[in-house]
């Protein structure tokens, strides 16, 4: 039928991408896999241990604790930032000078590096020199994020909300701007209440950006490391020690590379699985 030459030259075109992905993802990941199934002392002395490291980390109570803490933390982050972000997006001005000013102000926290955010809040919350800590204590509220578990948790959460709610709000804002005016007009003609407008027009039309917001906020919060590390160092006790910090301690502090590698892969799979669940749950309704 066709005069086209049949050969495999096209593979050459795929090669650059393959090399790039290999060096950026496959090779590092296989290194981790390599460590997770062997006990490696140096290049010449290594022993295959099978699933031993996996068995060990899955039974480690310290990891169970920080996994639980991590889930509670991510759930709190989503439960606060998603509704708050939607609410901010709904109240932001839509045109004129104020809309630009709002957008810029909203974008500022997103531009600040993680460790700087941690440092800002660490100082801000101090009872002696920080405005927040000093003001709370002056009002008679005994606030001390370094000593009190609840205070530490609240501070870490507020810090994350301050840092990342803007992202959710900006995504929702862009979703809202994409709704044609005629939908609002039709709703007015149909005498819809503002709740009905939100429930039946704005929310469904925002769904795709909300999906992105939920996924990004879940993944980022589940991997959070720098901010609580700078603020509380994981304390008081282990109260704000999240998964990535536990992992870092294991890998770099104790130099348990085998269990740390095994745990990295488990960690990765958890994030993949939960993200997949969110994605499926949120897109499933479309298929009816």
């Amino acid at each position: 039928m066709t005069d086209k030459v049949q050969n495999n030259k096209a593979w050459w075109l795929v090669l650059p991408v393959f090399l790039l992905v290999a060096f950026s993802a496959i090779v590092p990941m296989m290194t981790v896999v390599n460590y997770s199934v062997q006990d490696i002392f140096d290049a010449s002395s290594r022993y295959f241990v099978g699933a031993d490291w996996y068995r060990q980390v899955l039974q480690d109570p310290r990891l169970h604790d920080s996994l639980l803490r991590q889930f509670i933390y991510s759930a709190c982050v989503l439960a606060i930032e998603i509704p708050l972000g939607i609410a901010i997006a709904l109240t932001m001005p839509t045109k004129g000078r104020w809309s630009s000013i709002c957008l810029i102000v909203m974008a500022i926290p997103l531009l600040i590096p993680w460790n700087v955010v941690g440092t800002i809040w660490q100082i801000f919350g101090r009872a002696d020199i920080g405005l927040l800590g000093w003001a709370l204590n002056a009002m008679g509220i005994a606030y001390n994020y370094a000593g009190n578990t609840v205070d530490a948790w609240v501070t870490v959460l507020v810090m994350d909300v301050w840092h990342w709610t803007s992202l959710v709000a900006l995504l929702c804002y862009s979703g809202l701007r994409a709704i044609p005016d005629v939908y609002y007009q039709a709703a007015r003609i149909d005498r819809a209440s503002s709740w009905a407008v939100f429930r039946h027009i704005q929310l469904p039309k925002m769904k795709s950006v909300l999906l992105i917001a939920v996924m990004l906020r879940f993944m980022d919060s589940f991997m959070i490391y720098t901010e609580p590390f700078v603020l509380t160092g994981g304390g008081p006790g282990n109260a704000t020690t999240f998964l990535s910090q536990t992992l870092t301690q294991m890998a770099i502090g104790q130099f348990d590379l085998g269990p740390a590698a095994a745990f990295s892969l488990v960690y990765f799979l958890i994030i993949l699985l939960v993200s997949w669940l969110f994605y499926t749950a949120m897109t499933h309704a479309d298929k009816r």
Binding site: Y183, A192, H200, A285, D286
Partner: protein
């Protein structure tokens, strides 16, 4: 149900309009009577949708008043005006079923559920939507969505009026005809004032008893389809209505009539006197292609025109003629024999219209 009256109504989208060119709607007075079926006909950008939005309250006019049954409603929101409007592109509530979509306006006004059910089923039957009532609205085809959109407009039977903003744009031609019939039936059944915006003259004349032709932010003529055809009161109406549109020829007044090229057309004395008064920039003669008479052989009083082009459209022919340096279109029935190189034509006096600066020169009988 209401009579809608527009009083000195004007609208500009600019905050400080500096002249007529800044107005989307130029000052107008108009009455839509209770229970009428009206069409608002005009080209894109002439202000049709703006006028509709002023009536429904989605826009509030910069000048003048909108009155429902004598009550000024300028300050009332669309919700309070109790009006239904169907938009050009389908608007459905994606996450609701078709039934819930249709029930939405009724539930919003607090109607009891059994009454809602009865009413929705009635409208679903009229629009042929019963099969899809339980489907989610987002999974419908474009024309089904538009039917749902229309259904939400029709489902309330207590509305002051129903406004349609080119509602059949996305519907395929066969269904278009059916839906237009349906709308007409609904109109006859419920006796609700309906205003139907369109740029399609056929759509306007099949739906409406009376048509308002809009041009440049103004209603230039309001009349039955027949009046618009036979006595266009503005050159735009002549040009826009009819296929092809009216022949419009620039003429100069002369003793005994008006002239173009070497052609002198006599006028009735009354019109002659009117023309003699002068006072305008441009004088045009208008005659419909249908009303130009073609004769088989020359006779006194007929003009000999040169045939430039002939289009055979199956059911009729369109001749393009050249007379006195002017191009004329003439519409002829299919069964007439083909004319030769020269065609003898005359202009029946009763169908000759004279336009001064685009407006029809009228004289008393």
């Amino acid at each position: 149900m209401a009579e809608i009256r527009l009083q000195h109504l004007a609208h500009s989208y600019s905050a400080s309009p500096s002249g007529p060119q800044d107005y989307a709607i130029r000052q107008m007075d108009h009455i839509w009577e209770q229970g009428g079926a009206y069409a608002l006909l005009g080209p894109s950008g002439c202000g049709k949708s703006t006028l509709l939005n002023l009536i429904s309250g989605l826009l509030s006019p910069s000048e003048g008043q909108v009155l429902f049954d004598g009550q000024v409603v300028n300050e009332l929101t669309p919700e309070r005006r109790n009006i239904a409007q169907v938009f050009q592109f389908p608007v459905v509530y994606d996450t609701m079923t078709v039934f819930d979509n249709l029930a939405f306006p009724l539930r919003n006004q607090g109607m009891a559920e059994p009454a809602v059910r009865a009413r929705v089923e009635e409208i679903a039957e009229v629009l042929d939507l019963q099969r899809v009532l339980t489907k989610k609205a987002r999974n419908l085809s474009a024309d089904e969505k538009q039917k749902v959109s229309m259904g939400r407009g029709l489902v309330r039977d207590d509305v002051s009026a129903i406004l349609f903003d080119e509602p059949l744009t996305v519907i395929d031609p066969h269904l278009k005809w059916k839906l237009r019939r349906k709308l007409k039936q609904i109109h006859e059944q419920f006796n609700i004032t309906m205003v139907y915006v369109t740029h399609d003259q056929l759509e306007a004349s099949t739906f409406a008893d009376k048509i308002a032709v809009m041009y440049g932010g103004q209603i230039v003529q309001f009349g039955t389809p027949r009046e618009l055809f036979e006595r266009p009161s503005h050159t735009f109406v002549g040009y826009f209505i009819g296929s092809p549109g009216m022949n419009l020829i620039d003429v100069q007044p002369q003793a005994g009539g008006v002239a173009f090229g070497d052609v002198l057309l006599p006028l009735r004395p009354a019109l002659q006197a009117r023309v003699a008064q002068g006072g305008w920039q441009r004088l045009q003669l208008g005659i419909r292609p249908e009303f130009v008479r073609v004769w088989d052989e020359p006779f006194e009083g007929a003009w000999s025109a040169r045939l430039v082009h002939l289009e055979d459209l199956g059911t009729y022919k369109i001749l393009t003629l050249e007379l006195g340096g002017v191009t004329l279109k003439v519409r002829q029935p299919e069964d007439r024999p083909l004319p030769g190189e020269r065609v003898c034509i005359s202009f029946p006096e009763q169908w000759l219209m004279l336009y001064a600066d685009d407006y029809l020169l009228e004289v008393g009988p």
